[in-house]
Point group: C2
Chain length 207, copies 2
């Protein structure tokens, strides 16, 4: 199956009983783990089923195809991610430009730490629903920037938020591939990058 083809990803059947709910939940957790380890393409449905102490048949009882599984994993993450950024909006005003810049990096890192499959899921083409979710998150970041410096203006804040997301995603990709020894260094340098980019914009009067 090609990554680029769009399939129906709506659940084939919603679990009704306790047993079913437990199973679906276990399947999703396992799917996340396997996808995180091997990437979307190399993750196989049989391995997901096996490692969830389930069977292929059960897996397909709830999900019509592989994409649907990935989509469901992604869906699971959204709420938590959104909350992370919302929290940042709350404290942004109290932070210095440098602190805020660094915080943007660490929040991202904490997110992928909690949701290791997130990066691998970038391989699969986002559904329109996912696009909307992503836009929502961008707005959250923009809100954090505006909470810090209201004079920025909405459109400017949104634009900067895009760049922050861009840079962050680049960071995460590399962070994920690097080994433990390199990671600390990568994080520090990327904080420097964001500080260099953001601090002037957050300080100057003529935004």
């Amino acid at each position: 199956m090609s990554v680029s083809s769009r399939l129906n990803t709506t659940p084939r059947r919603v679990p009704q009983q306790r047993r079913g709910k437990r199973r679906v939940s276990a399947l999703l957790d396992t799917a996340a783990a396997v996808i995180a380890e091997k990437g979307y393409e190399q993750a196989t449905m049989s391995e997901i089923a096996r490692r969830a102490h389930s069977s292929i048949g059960s897996l397909y009882q709830f999900f019509p195809n592989k994409q649907a599984v990935a989509e469901a994993v992604r869906e699971q993450y959204i709420e938590d991610i959104n909350r992370s950024w919302t929290d940042l909006v709350g404290v942004a005003a109290k932070l210095s430009p440098e602190q805020l810049s660094r915080r943007l990096v660490t929040v991202q890192l904490e997110i992928v730490e909690r949701h290791p499959a997130l990066l691998a899921l970038l391989e699969i083409p986002p559904t329109s629903r996912t696009w909307r979710r992503r836009e929502l998150i961008r707005v959250r970041v923009a809100m954090a920037l505006m909470a810090h410096k209201p004079r920025l203006g909405e459109s400017k804040a949104l634009r900067i938020a895009s760049v922050v997301q861009l840079v962050s995603r680049g960071l995460l990709t590399l962070y994920a591939k690097s080994d433990d020894r390199e990671r600390a260094g990568i994080v520090e340098e990327f904080k420097a990058v964001l500080v260099g980019y953001l601090a002037p914009k957050l300080k100057s009067q003529r935004g």
Copy 2:
């Protein structure tokens, strides 16, 4: 075949005759095109052979497996890439910090423009040979930085070069996925990011 498994990628047979050399060259060009279009995973050996007006048999006569083809494509690029960065070393001293920063971005862009498969090739795990090549390129970037500001010192320059490569790769990934309308904007913002990061390091006395 898993992406993560390492295979023997040495050529099965080196072309001796004119005919063979032409064919191998056509196969590599086509392979680059197909990989650029579809990515490594989705590129198939049959399509490469077909579009090179060749046959599966001929393809496997020269390359033992798919990875070997990708590796050969990557190998082809190295020389040209190295030259691009070497050119920059020559002019770096004459540029302002801002100009140099922007130049680092545009050189990268020109490279992927000339070698569209380059990004897709990041999917496949680098061989030790590729690592060495990559390190060479990092040294080139560091040399450009030192040509601009000799006081930087070698170790500092190398470290900054790493970050430049990191940021650039992030840019390219996103650049490749975006459509034409967004690209100009992405490029400009990334220049701003690099300027923000580099300018202070290239200007200040206490590096």
